[in-house]
């Protein structure tokens, strides 16, 4: 009651809104700046003080799309991301379910081992991975890139989904068993729909990481499989920084993740299990 009244107070409310607004501006500023720059001509974005009102142009975007490497990289990123998200969920979700539901020897150790893969910085495994990939001829291949990103993302998928599965009351699955459903049916038709928010969240996190990753891409891709961050990186050369195309390609790179996140948003609404059980 006291807390409710506190937040109803107009002054307090206004202060909190100002702080929130300031935070949003700080977060959004680089993106807004990039978007604005992507629509400016070379003359406009070199002006100081910067122009906030200007004649927009699509020239930078045209230049990006004229760059055949960029279009190819865009396609590569989509292929690799779909592969990583799909395979990570396909493997990680049943793994998380098994960890959350079944009792077996060494369960704690396995769970810790999975998590420990995230302890070391990715750069530590870069050289060994490069050697292994060279031997296995996985450098500059889609399966190679999907595998390396799965290695990084699986612990995340497993641990996030483990939390979601643990929150599903066992009674619901047992009710399914008594009703006559097979365990696989229960997993796919009863449990999985209940963890959709978790699936959506992990899919988004996996996608964002894979889409934006530069270090592994730099070392393990070649001309055929280079990804978006590499293509953007190429607009920074020794002789000049092409601010216009760099900003335009960045805006294009942001778009797919934004669309995917918006599509998944409705599944992110929590509380789907409410009503199944008496809280």
């Amino acid at each position: 009651m006291i807390i409710t009244r506190y937040f109803q107070n107009k002054v307090v409310r206004t202060i909190f809104l100002i702080i929130l607004f300031g935070f949003v501006v700080c977060c959004m500023f680089p993106i807004i700046w990039t978007v604005m720059t992507s629509f400016k001509t070379r003359a406009d974005f070199l002006v100081y003080p910067p122009l906030f009102v200007f004649q927009p142009t699509l020239e930078n975007y045209m230049e990006v799309f004229r760059e055949s490497d960029f279009v190819k990289a865009f396609g590569n990123s989509i292929i690799i991301c779909l592969g990583v998200v799909g395979c990570s969920l396909l493997l990680g979700v049943p793994c998380a379910y098994g960890l959350s539901r079944f009792r077996f020897k060494g369960k704690g150790n396995i769970a810790f081992l999975i998590l420990s893969m995230r302890f070391a910085p990715a750069v530590v495994v870069l050289i060994p991975m490069f050697m292994i990939y060279s031997k296995l001829k996985l450098i500059n291949t889609y399966p190679g890139m999907i595998l390396i990103y799965m290695l990084v993302n699986l612990p995340l998928v497993i641990w996030v989904m483990y939390g979601f599965f643990k929150d599903i009351p066992k009674d619901i699955e047992e009710a399914g068993l008594v009703d006559g459903a097979a365990p696989a049916y229960i997993f796919w038709r009863i449990v999985t729909p209940l963890v959709l928010p978790g699936l959506a969240a992990t899919a988004i996190l996996t996608l964002i990481f894979t889409w934006n990753e530069l270090m592994f891409a730099l070392m393990l891709t070649g001309k055929d499989t280079q990804t978006i961050p590499l293509a953007i990186y190429k607009f920074l050369s020794y002789t000049e920084i092409s601010w216009g195309p760099l900003s335009a390609s960045s805006v294009i790179a942001i778009l797919p993740v934004t669309v995917f996140t918006l599509l998944c948003q409705k599944y992110l609404v929590s509380g789907l299990t409410f009503g199944a059980l008496k809280e």
Binding site: P169, D171, I172, E174, A175, G176, L177, V178, D179, G180, A181, Y185, I190, P193, L194, G271, L272, T273, F274, G275, A276, L277, K278
Partner: protein
Amino acid sequence: MARVRLENVCKSYDNSEHMAVSDFSLEVQDKEFVVLVGPSGCGKTTTLRMIAGLEDITSGGLFIDDRLVNDLEPKDRDIAMVFQNYALYPHMSVFDNMGFALKLRKRPKEEIAAAVNEAARILSIGHLLDRKPRQLSGGERQRVAIGRAIVRHPKVFLMDEPLSNLDAKMRTQMRAEIIKLHKRLNTTFVYVTHDQVEAMTLGDRIVVMKDGLIQQIDTPQNIYDTPANVFVAGFIGTPQMNLFHGARLVLAAGDYYVRMFGREFLLPEEKQQILKGKGAAEQAVIAGVRPDDFELTAGGSGITALPDLGEVMGSEVILHVRIPKEGVGIADLSEAEGVVESDDENLNWVGAVIVQKGGASGSTEAVSILPDASKINLFDPATQANLLL
């Protein structure tokens, strides 16, 4: 319709020495309503889950209609279960929840619809069929959970504390509905509860459990009248049975008396016969008298007791009284000396007495009370068992 038989069923987890359920033997007759009751951790839910097939049986045999089902999957046992937390499928409508089991059995849509509608009609939830569980109240969800069980017409209904999450009013209402449902469906029910009122009102027979062991199996009335041991005496009945730890069984002129509070009470003929049959010797006993087996006596001819407080229940009053030890006057009785349960007959005794309203008010004036000697139970202080069984 089915008989359920458990023969020396034991359950231990992870091969530990501790038995969650020990040597459990029970035969539930066809169409019988059996209630398993006991405090938390007594093994009642584990037993129910073993019947359902949700827990493995460590040793012993479980038979449904004389068929050993120990290793049968839950779906092959033809049972339905109502869970304590309802366990409805949150992403399905009420209709889909109720029709789920039939859908899995690949029954035609018309048959499923007819069965769901019939169950919904019985439970008065026809108007809720399109809703999701989260849109229902606690009572409605409970009805849906029961509805989900009855659409299949299973051989045995298993219910695991289905009313424990409802408020008092709804619980009373649903209790009556479950009794009606049992009569209507004419099927075997096994019901688990920790609430002895539910056990008394619902069960044809009650199984009282403690620490994984059966304490007593009998009809509610028999359990109330002659509890098998001190635990059952204390567990069944509200307020619980009064236990006089300092009582003594006395044999005089061939008749048995119970001596307590400096008086001797002649036991009725039926109890005399039982004790004679056993050749019971004079011994210290724990005497048990239900609070409603006392009566107020006029003119101070009974035992003088000092009420600490009186709970007015409407038609009756529960007096929480103290009776002084021998040689102590009622005026000298101080609150600090009161003990609830003690083997020392020299201490004051504290207990409850139910009297009809009008006989006493909620005041703390000293009253004169007498136990009904025909209703006294006698327990062996060493074994805690009822000497009259």
